[in-house]
Assembly symmetry: C2
Homo-oligomer: 242 residues x 2
Amino acid sequence: MSDTGSDAADAAARGTTAVEVVRTLPEASVARLPVYLRVLSELALAGRTVVSSDALAALAGVGPAQVRRDLAPLGPRGTRGVGYDVVALRDRLQDVLGLTHEWPVVIVGAGNLGQALAGYAGFADRGFRVAALVDVDPLLVGSSVAGLVVDPAERLEDAVLRSGASIAVVATPPGSAQAVCDRLVAAGVRSILNFAPVLLVVPAHVEVRDVDLSVELALLAFHEQRRAADLPLDLPVREGRA
Amino acid sequence: MSDTGSDAADAAARGTTAVEVVRTLPEASVARLPVYLRVLSELALAGRTVVSSDALAALAGVGPAQVRRDLAPLGPRGTRGVGYDVVALRDRLQDVLGLTHEWPVVIVGAGNLGQALAGYAGFADRGFRVAALVDVDPLLVGSSVAGLVVDPAERLEDAVLRSGASIAVVATPPGSAQAVCDRLVAAGVRSILNFAPVLLVVPAHVEVRDVDLSVELALLAFHEQRRAADLPLDLPVREGRA
DNA sequence: TACTGTGAACTAATTCACAGCT
DNA sequence: AGCTGTGAATTAGTTCACAGTA
């Protein structure tokens, strides 16, 4: 590569300056980073200072090669022969995932699920602050849930603007989810965690993640049924005509 | 294909008998089947009798080619030039997913989340019956949630055996999840939907599906952060030494 | 020695594009 | 004409196996 290298690469080769290189992170890896983060937080709390890809893999429930593939592009490379620095890696993950500052979140729907989410400790731990909890039901509005007063539905836009929330949770019945979603998007929300079993239609710049609990159970039922019949993933199919 | 075909294929060619053929269903397709089922159920309810892969794709939020790939192995093939028979396809999906009979489910943990799950209509709709709701907290035990009396933790095994549940939901704090899981498995549970943010260690014949709500939010935060900075999935990484 | 980082091989999943029915 | 079903091409993801390094 002689003299075809970039200025930056040359500088690095000369050992003078650190270089900014851009590494791409596969989406599949991104999806596992929060899990590593959780494990590393626990390890750090337990006083562990280094961890090998093998150990981390075991704790995260994946293969060691995968851990290395996932982490290598992040930069704070582990030390060969030793492992990864627990705290440095944890901090890097927090940084990459954007969990270094607080994220205000608006939850729409204060039914059972909305209330459960509002009180979920795992959110606060990771920097997600429930800025508002909104519902249409006059019986719920004004009541106190997890230290929050439930706001009436009219205040939805208000809550989003006031809190500056760019993330919202939809925990309404399926029938009202799309309308709520539209209002959230109009108010400036760009990321939605949707618990309603419907496809939310949103503009391209808005991201929706669906959590459909009955889908999860259905998948368990499928595999359960397979296991009971001792079949693999194959289906007997009637082919041809009588 | 002349005379190289199998006996079964010959029979089919002669048009005498239907043939049992085994088609393999990719795991990724399986994960989408419950979504198709939901859409088809809605369409059937709305009186729609046929649906094209294009229409179904739009409603399910995937591409039309993917719909066809996913459904083709199931057998009740659509009619070329027309589309899929809504009711026939819905029934076939229910059958394949094992949702033709009731599945008793035991929920462990009657906190906010456990209560929300116990009352979740989407479960009952799909044939999941909450057979028992169990908790350690003496304040909750005996109280009534969604028409169910909360059972004490000691009754866990009892509840599993009595109901014959092979599916359970773990909605306990992370600290007690593994112990609960062990007891469930010992009692005969083979599929677990886990809401606790920990890796459950189970024997090979047991399947666990994790739903980690803070992971979902973290992924939204990641993309949100990217979008704000207008970066793609790339990371600037400091490479080389000073 | 004991570990990471990564090219290379492999496997899975998606998308294209069109043949084949109805 | 209008659709499905599917080979073929493409892309993404995983795993292997080992070179490189502290």
